[in-house]
Structures are given as C-alpha cells and as structure tokens.
Amino acid sequence: MNKSLCKCVLVGALVLTISGGCWAQPAWAVWSCWYWPWHDNYNPNLFDSGEAMYRYDLYTGAYSQWWEYNYHGPPQYPAPWWGHCHAWAAAAVWEPQPEYSKSVGGITFRIRDRKGLMVETYNACADGDSYEFLVDNPTPGTFWKYLRKEIGGINPMHGEKMGFVGELYYGDEVWNYPIYKYSVTLSSSSPYSGTIKIWVASDGKPSYANSTTLYYKTYAYKFKGVRKNSRGDPVSSGTWIGTGPYSRPDAIWRPYYATTWMQYADNTELSEGYLNDILSDE
C-alpha cells in the first residue's frame, strides 16, 4: 500500500501565506504545478480520464490509471488536501520543467501530462533513506546556512545553485514547497536578529500545471540569537519568534537525484522506457 499521502495546499487556502505572483525564472530554478489531489471532488486528478495516466495507458497499454485511482485515489479515503506536494517539490528542484507538449506514438502529452508523470516518478523519494539532507525543526541559523549555501551559491553541495524543499507548515499538517529564492534582513551585530523571507513555487491552482510561468508565494520568518562562524557561515543557533503554523519552517530536505525515472516511482504500471519516451526532451 502506498504510504506517500501528502497534505497539500488547497485553492483558496493561500490567503494565509502572505503574498503571491509570478517570477522570471532562472535557468536552474524550480517550477509550479498542481498538487494532483487524491480526492475525487478536487480536480483534476492524475487518474482522471484524459489526464496523464489515461494518456500513458493509451500509449503503452499499461494500467497506470487503474493503479493511480486505487492507490493514490478514492479507495484510500483521502482528505481533500492529500496529494503529491512532496513529489512535485522534489521533482521541481531536480528536473527541468517540461516546456512543451510532445506526441509519442500518436498520443499527445501536454505540459500538464508531462509534469504529472514527472511528479509521479518522485512519489517515493521521501521514504527516509534517500535524503541529501533532512533537518527537522531547523534553527534559524541552520535554515539561513542552507539558504546561503544552496540557493545563494556559497559553496553549494553540487557546485552550483539549486533549490531545496521546505515543509512549511509548523504543525501536524504537511505542506511541501520548492524554495528557490531568499532574502535576509538582520541586525548589525552578533547575535543577529531579523527576518528571513523565502520565495517558493506554488501548486495552488490546476492551471499552474499547464503553464511554464513560475507562480510563487512568499513566507517571512522572524528570528533572534543567530551566530556566525569564522568563515561567515551562520551556525545552528537562534530561536524563531512566534508560534503559529507559519512562524517557522517545519523541515527542510532534498532527496538524492533520481538516476532513473523509476527510482522513486511506486506506480508499478509505469516503466522506464516509456517514461523516457514521454519525459525526455530530445
């Protein structure tokens, strides 16, 4: 049974989280999508007729639509907010955005279908043993350190800037987003206090799945007590100010890069060769 249920943001719930808009996307950056809910009353779903799995099955003769309905759909009794946000957020930091429709074997895969399949291939990426990093309840210093390192490009893990995933609901709910930009305003002397603002791609509207525009939201977190080391890097220190669900990030993480399309795919009706036909750009 699939474990990868995910609590994602619903249309209309975005008002809680500060601001939104669109952004000129750097080449390395992340992409927006739809959270592809499991609940049949919130549409579209990946298992709907005409959507990604339906088209995949037309091309391959597989039963991925059936699998998706049964294991990522209504038989799991999902809450309305369950979906694929963790898989989308991970795919969006690692994979180039599908930017055009592609016809394969006479079947047209729209941008939304190619994004949907790409998201599905990352569904098992957060099962615990494939993290490049996972920091639960990061201190302000640790969060700032990763923002500088990975997004600011100051000695990044892979030698170049890239985004990472933030689980941004401080509490029991799970809302994952790809973080791609940040700014910090802070006091002039150590220990530092100030505000960290982050930009994340959004998955809040179905239309985002078929678009190449980067729709975003921002979060701002106030902190105090952060120190730096002799290299100028923030160290694990400080405390967040406030206690609400949007007062601080709940966790930050990024999985290993998936070297095959099937590495993290749990839909057993998918296969490497067909996915490559559909998802590769050449």
Binding site: C6, H86, N276
Partner: protein, 256 residues
C-alpha cells in the same frame, strides 16, 4: 590527645574515599585518545539506518529504514599545508541508492577532516538529463580544528572526533558549536553494541582500549563506541532534539 588520633583516623578515611572515587572517575572519563591505526589499503564497511519520522510525507509510517552499506578505503596519503592526511574514499555498497561517492581527507595526527569531495558517478540510466560526472571539493582548513559533524547525507555516518585533542568544547568559529568527550569502556559494553559479524574480530582485539566518544551540539548528540584495534567505531548513534536519528555498525574490515 584523644581527638588528635580520631581526627587523623577520620582524615585517613576521607582521603581514601576521595582517592577511591577520584580513581574511579579518572578510569572512566579520559582527556583524549590516540587516533585509530590506518594504513594505505585498509578498508572497512559500515552499515547505517536512518529513523524516518514520516514528517514530510502525510501518511508515512515512522520507523527505521533498511540498512545501507558504505565501503571506506584508505586510498593514499597527501599533504595539505605541509601536514600529512589520509585520503579515504567512501562508496555506496549493496542496495544503497546514493548516486554519489565521496573522498575525505583525514589528518594523520588527529583525524581532523580537512577536505571533502563529492563525486557524481557515471550513470548507465536511460534518463537523458542525469547529473553530469563532476567533482565538488570543499576545504575546511581555514577553520579551527575540531570534531567533524555534519547534517548532510544523513545515511552516511561520517561524524569523527578529533583525537589527540583536549576534550573541552573547542573555542572559536563554528567549532564552538561542537564539543566532544571521551570515556573508557569495558569490553562487554562495546561487544553488546557490535554487529555479530564483528564479534570474532572484536574478541581478537580484547584487551585493547575501548572508548565511548560523545560529539555534541545544541541539538545533536552522536555516541560512538570505539575499539582502538579497529579502524572505525564499532557502533554509533545520533539523536537530534532527543529523538532517534540514525544508528550504524562496523560490519567488515580488511586490507587490500
């Protein structure tokens, strides 16, 4: 006249008691330790499992992930800033899905980690946009020496104490966030933590010094059980904010 001898008698007992308890303490907590003996060609395998809290995926069941293997090998020695370092490669082994491998430079004198490299491997996958083979190097030699502790690659248990060093929290820089402490251990306490595959090798090392090493920050505590005859700790575990994070075992050692 009477009280004198009584005082002396009392003082003698007090002195013996102080000596006895101090003696016990000295036998347990030690100030430092020599590093493990390594030579070029030495290799060892460590298996690690991470506790999956399920926190970032709704509905995930918390629990320990399957063990993942890492093969360490002392590939050679190099000089950094006129000081000799062992160069150790670390590669995923068995079912380990990590698509990268690593090199770490450990100073011969104290195992200070002075440099690391992350290597993107060649992939035979059909996926066209796989990571290109490349190497990312990080030098740490501009920081004050201290124990090595990182939150990157949680399934790779690479925490390393600074041997031959004062155990007090080290002052200055980011290392002020990391402290270490050494404690002598009995054979039985190390044996009970060891993987069964290491039992015979550990018996061969009986009588060697056993150590419990604690490496700590505000949120992280790493406990490692070392035997001075073996190249890596026999068992280690990390807790973060008091919760299980990972545990790891030395499962094989050898020489090329």
């Amino acid at each position: 006249m009477i009280r004198g001898p009584k005082r002396s008698f009392f003082s003698l007992h007090l002195a013996l008691a102080v000596f006895f308890f101090n003696g016990l303490a000295v036998a347990q907590v030690v100030s430092t330790s020599a590093p493990p003996a390594w030579s070029v060609g030495d290799w060892w395998v460590v298996e690690c499992q991470v506790y999956n809290t399920g926190k970032v995926v709704r509905g995930a069941k918390p629990g320990w992930t399957p063990r993942q293997g890492w093969r360490f090998e002392v590939e050679g020695s190099e000089s950094i800033a006129s000081q000799p370092y062992f160069v150790v490669s670390i590669r995923p082994e068995g079912g380990n899905r990590c698509p990268y491998w690593f090199r770490y430079w450990f100073r011969v004198s104290d195992r200070y980690v002075g440099r690391s490299e992350l290597h993107h491997s060649e992939h035979a996958a059909s996926k066209p946009n796989a990571l290109k083979p490349s190497v990312v190097r990080d030098d740490f030699t501009d920081t004050p020496p201290g124990p090595f502790l990182t939150d990157e690659f949680p399934s790779l248990p690479l925490s390393m104490p600074l041997f031959n060093a004062n155990c007090k929290p080290l002052a200055g820089g980011d290392k002020s966030e990391v402290s270490q402490a050494f404690e002598n251990l009995a054979d039985s306490r190390v044996l009970e933590k060891a993987d069964l595959r290491m039992a015979s090798k550990l018996e061969a090392e009986a009588g060697r010094r056993n150590l419990l090493v604690r490496i700590s920050t505000l949120k992280i505590t790493e406990r490692q059980y070392w035997n001075s005859g073996l190249p890596w700790c026999l068992y280690g575990e990390r807790t973060e904010n008091g919760h299980d994070f990972r545990r790891y075992w030395l499962v094989d050692v050898g020489r090329k």
